[in-house]
């Protein structure tokens, strides 16, 4: 570490002027250029467009749209949509995070405890499969098969088995946030458990052997060794996903709900609202304003959670 730092210091002292550097390492910069161009086109070029948030956007004469100050923000924040979609976004994302983490950690611990190699492989392969299919497929499975309105839908058959009446699911808004979170869990538990399984695999085996010698039961080893050792990874993973809390899970939610207005009350997140506003009414000003609101809050959240992560564990911060 010491030599590395010294080397870096030396490198700083030996910095070449720009043109000399280009002449010497030009080939490397040429290699970075294509990726740089793509990122410029799709990530930096849109940024000046944020000005639309303060304009009454005019599609025909788009460079001379009149400025209207904060009216676009006012329009959104004084409507009932602002609170509703923000709350829905936060509730759904928060539940994604909590339950996926909880279930994935539990699965990782169980998979680690199961001794039979073959059965462990079978379980792991089975719960990993849903990760590989698109959100459209998930949406189809959920809407036309599992929670179909007809009496033949899987859930309605299950209800009938327990003697309950079939439910017309597409008219029951409160059911769908649970379904959305459930579908997310179904798709990502296997994937996330592999992340935690990887950290468990890195734990010091000797600690476990010492605990066994001291007569610790399996449960005690999980409770007092595995879980505390996993805590740093769990906390870091959670902190790092806080930055995306205001970004709705557009593709997955839209694939399940589509344009069924009856279900919006609990499922309409900011991103689905924005998409509909563009598609239906071409509301470019307001939607850009909403995007800016998401980005600014997201930026603050990322910085904050990164600061927390750094405080918690120096190596775990992103930057």
């Amino acid at each position: 570490m010491g030599t590395k730092q010294r080397k870096e210091k030396e490198a700083k002292k030996n910095r070449r002027p720009f043109f000399q550097e280009m002449k010497k390492n030009g080939a490397y910069y040429m290699m970075m250029l294509p990726a740089g161009i793509v990122v410029f086109l799709f990530a930096y070029l849109p940024m000046p467009g944020l000005i639309i948030a303060f304009q009454d956007f005019n599609f025909v004469d788009r460079f001379r749209s009149p400025f209207i100050g904060l009216n676009n923000f006012k329009f959104f924040f004084t409507s009932s949509y602002a609170l509703q979609t923000t709350v829905n976004t936060l509730v759904i994302n928060f539940n994604y995070l909590i339950w996926t983490t909880f279930l994935a950690v539990a699965v990782a611990i169980i998979l680690n405890e199961i001794k039979g190699r073959v059965s462990r492989k079978i379980y792991q392969n089975a719960i990993f499969i849903p990760y590989f299919i698109s959100s459209v497929v998930v949406g189809r499975l959920v809407r036309t098969m599992l929670f179909a309105d007809s009496a033949g839908g899987v859930m309605n058959r299950l209800l009938r088995m327990f003697g309950a009446d079939p439910v017309k699911w597409s008219t029951v808004p409160i059911a769908w946030p649970f379904i959305i979170v459930g579908a997310h869990l179904w798709q990502l538990t296997g994937y996330t458990s592999i992340v935690y399984l990887a950290s468990i695999a890195g734990f010091d085996r000797e600690m476990y052997e010492a605990a066994s010698l001291d007569g610790a039961s399996r449960w005690q080893k999980i409770r007092y060794l595995t879980v505390p050792l996993l805590m740093p990874s769990i906390i870091v993973m959670m902190l790092l996903s806080i930055g995306g809390m205001l970004r709705g899970d557009f593709a997955n939610i839209y694939a399940i709900i589509e344009d069924n207005g009856m279900l919006f009350k609990y499922t309409d997140v900011i991103d689905t609202y924005v998409f509909r506003a563009i598609k239906g009414a071409a509301e470019f000003g307001t939607t850009t304003a909403i995007g800016l609101y998401q980005s600014v809050v997201g930026f603050i959240l990322v910085m904050g959670s990164n600061w927390l992560a750094k405080k918690y564990d120096k190596d775990s911060a992103l930057f």
């Binding site: 499969i129 990760y131 590989f132 499975l141 992340v195």
Partner: protein, 289 residues
């Protein structure tokens, strides 16, 4: 004696829990397959059942009788192939430049790649750039370009390149290899594992992407498979109105499930062979996210 018994009960509970979870994860696939080979009448009459009353391939015949499934496949395969190749090329080149300690502005470039993931302009300006400036709507490039470079993958690959001993690169330089030749002759063959992993993740992303089609594609001939599945109601109408099936009742439930299976078929077939690379990839990413 007691602890042994407890251990057995614990094992049993863990296996039962995992069997239950595995069942939940697999059940929708098996059930939808069973529906896709059932007769439409039996589904209408009995609902979705694990054991179909009658066996038929009518739904699959309907799917393949319509030409759009072939163009869907063609579009998806083209997008996946071109997208993965281009993405890999751009990612590897950028990562290679960034991995070399002698390159002075490598960290500045890393920051440049990273900033958009912390602060983005949002959907609308991005959409306007794609449609008004780059004119991507209703082109194949709309499905490829927007997701071409992922900073995460670039960083992942850079970290891998950094583990290649610099003495190897210096030796190649002394032997008269230029930057490009060193990259392709010395580094590339050593980087097969990371290339395999990243190309599989990128390829899966392209295969499953439908949001870009939702944003940019109106023309049916450019629909990728997933988007066809999304538009299936209108697809069924289309088949009914056009094509050879004009005077034939289109099976609805079984047709949907058959189409679903046709779109995920290649993935399910490849899954046993590729899943271990994905597991490895997640583990590499988990080391430093």
């Amino acid at each position: 004696m007691r602890t042994k018994k407890q251990g057995f009960i614990g094992d049993l509970l863990m296996h039962l829990g995992m069997i239950f979870l595995s069942f939940i994860c697999l059940y929708p696939f098996v059930l939808s397959f069973m529906v896709s080979i059932s007769t439409e009448e039996s589904i209408v009459k009995n609902g979705f059942k694990m054991l179909p009353d009658g066996f038929t391939l009518t739904a699959y015949r309907t799917v393949f009788a319509d030409g759009s499934i072939y163009t869907g496949y063609l579009i998806t395969i083209l997008v996946t192939l071109i997208g993965t190749l281009l993405s890999l090329l751009l990612t590897a080149m950028a990562a290679y430049g960034m991995a070399n300690n002698k390159v002075q502005y490598r960290n500045a470039f890393a920051l440049y790649l990273y900033i958009p993931s912390v602060f983005s302009a949002g959907l609308v300006p991005w959409y306007l750039v794609c449609t008004q400036i780059l004119h991507l709507q209703n082109t194949l490039w709309a499905l490829i370009l927007p997701s071409l470079v992922s900073p995460f993958n670039v960083f992942l690959m850079r970290n891998y390149f950094k583990t290649i001993p610099s003495s190897l690169l210096e030796a190649a330089e002394i032997d008269g290899c230029g930057v490009m030749k060193t990259a392709f002759v010395v580094v590339l063959p050593l980087s097969k594992p990371i290339i395999a992993t990243i190309s599989l993740f990128v390829g899966l992303g392209y295969w499953n992407n439908w949001a870009n089609a939702l944003y940019f594609i109106d023309e049916r001939r450019l629909y990728p498979l997933q988007y066809m599945l999304y538009r299936i109601e209108s697809l069924m109408r289309f088949i009914r109105e056009n094509g050879a099936m004009a005077n034939m009742e289109v099976p609805t439930q079984t047709f949907q499930m058959a189409t679903l299976f046709v779109t995920i078929g290649p993935i399910l077939l490849l899954y046993p062979f590729v899943q271990k690379y994905f597991v490895k990839g997640i583990m590499v990413g988990a080391v430093k996210g």
